[in-house]
Amino acid sequence: MLSRSAEDLYWMARYMERAENTARVLDVSNRTAVLPSEEGSQSLHWRPALEIGPDPAAFYEHYDEPDAASIIGYMALDRENPSSIWSCIRAARENARAERARISTEMWESLNDTWLEIQVLDPEALERWGYRKFFDWIKERSHLFRGVTLGTMLQDDGFQFARLGGFLERADNTARILDVKYHMLLPSTAEVGGAVDYYQWSALLRSVSAFAAYRKVYRDTITPARVAELLILNEDLPRSLHACHNMVCVTLDELIGGRRLEGRRLAGEIHASLKYGRIDEIVTKGLHEFLEEFIFANNRLGHQVQQDFMMSEVVVVD
């Protein structure tokens, strides 16, 4: 398939996934912020939502204090913020628009509907909707788009590139959520003690749809190490790093067609660290360092995939 098409589909899926994950982060911040906390500072809960984005400093050029209204305004609907949900949906739709001949009609209509609706949303309308309802709606639109893709798109290379983009983005986002929240929550104690603490950790789990899964897997109280283990190493949890990279390897194998590509080697390296890693070692060596390294490697893989597939070299084999 055309390299440019591969790139469009890859980014279409990445942006849609990013919109969903931003909604997830904002949702969890919004939930935890309403609780009484010792510091009593709003910004403590809201800062992580900013820090998960690529450029937290940009926020302060437009707003003074990170509080609910300003952060949600900035991360959800700000047209100037290239990583806001609004901008992500627009970018996803632009990429889809360029590839309308490749995606199914249903995919286009689903994404176009989402865009038409969010396009006209302003902060006042958002407040009337209610934040929760808005986050749920974004998640639903993302689920719908993924489902429509799975159910209607021809499962050719284009499909695999879209999947690849989605999983790389999701892995990146889960790692960032865990990194930021873990940091913020950990200083208290190794054990999750009080009710507030408990609520915070369960909110983190909920943000990646892992709360019920945690209960099923561990049948025990919530501990930070287990939360990290679940989100990093458990291959059955759809948003864990391991699960995402299982799929990254599968889609890459579909795409490379027997060639030896650097991207596949990198993916194998990352996959091995998740498949054979142990949580106690990760925690001992430093969870933050591990996640930082992961995010870097995941990014590098993204670049390599573009190198391997999307910049066709001018070497002619007829």
């Binding site: 055309l2 440019r4 098409s5 628009r97 795409l255 066709s312 001018v314 070497v315 002619v316």
Partner: protein
Amino acid sequence: MIENIFDEMNAADGSIRRPYEVFETYLRSFPPEQLQKKRDEADQLFRRMGITFLVYFEGGSAERLIPFDILPRILSGREWRRLEEGCVQRVKALNMFLHDIYHDREVCKAGVMPEELILANSAYRPEAHGIDLPFGVYAHIAGIDVVRVSEDEFYVLEDNLRTPSGVSYMLENREVMMRLFPEAFARQAIAPVDNYCDKLLRTLRSVAPQGRDDPTVVLLTPGRYNSAYFEHVFLAEQMGIELVEGQDLFVEGGKVYMRTTLGPQRVDVIYRRIDDDFLDPLAFRPDSVLGVPGILSVVREGGVSLANAIGGGVADDKATYTYVPELIRFYLGEEPILANVPTYRLRDEPDLKYALEHLDELVVKEVHGSGGYGMLIGPTSTKEEIAAYRERILADPALFIAQPTLALSTCPTLVEEGIAPRHVDLRPFVLSGEETVLIPGAFTRVALREGSLVVNSSQGGGTKDTWVLQE
């Protein structure tokens, strides 16, 4: 302002014209508010399908829906057959003309058309001289703009042989109409149009370079900011071919390749929707980023086929237009089935004199203009506008032609006040490859403003579905 306007549905004696009989009865079963509801439904469908075009204005552009009118334009089988024969005849002659002027110019030697008219034409491409194209076809896809002024009088207003657009509306309008009014299609036999893309693909494959048995066809678009981008996507999707931009193609060793995820892949036929000027920065406009450097030399060596071929614009120029009836006689030895609109060539002194005396009755157009821009419609213009245009003509009369203001036929159209007559034209699409064919349908454009004769979508025109009755 114009007397005796022919209406496609309502005959002058108050009766319903025959092609509309069935539909009119059906239409009467709808209360007015029901029709408005259908129209809203149609709007929603178009918006949902994302069928938009880009309009440009100062400081930007925006995605708009082309207004769609839910009342169809209906042609009888007999009317259609005449149009079909006339369009096929015309396009055959135009293709022979193009082959001729890029080879021996018999048409000039025979004194039918002055050679300087060809050489001075800005669309003439000396680079295209002497290339032998499959079947001698230059204009593989042609859109012929036809207007009607009475029961039996059809005129060709313009030939579009470069990159004519609008065919996606022919197909999508039908799709929407079948969703909105399924019963109407059950009541009478309406010729289907949805095999257009199949015919188009067959046409494109038939002109592949020799020896390429399973040719790769692509559609070359200027990109997503082009006003007709939706159509490019639509056609590529329907034909199952790659939609490429200039940056996706490159030339190597006398062949054209596209960049794919598995490496370069050879391309045989390019259905290009970009103008000659932008095709090859090495040969034409050096600042073009839309084209493919070096593609012209591949075309000349027969390594790739372009549809439409380079240089075809000579034949749809308004200066050439006036000669088309003579070209038909010269190449085919037949009388034209479809007439030209009587046209004054202002490069000729007597025509110029007449035109200047009758500017308030005439439509004056630039020879090289398109899209309804830069024309003067005498009867609806102010004295000041006419005076200003007169100055433009006098500056260089050869740049203009003039035509009588035609009383374009009207068709019932749903507007704010209810159903009212609005002027329409018709653009059928002619495909030429191994054979020359027409799909029984067309792109009908309608001037939505009362009394307006300008149907261009860039100027507030809308579209209608076009029905050809099978009888």
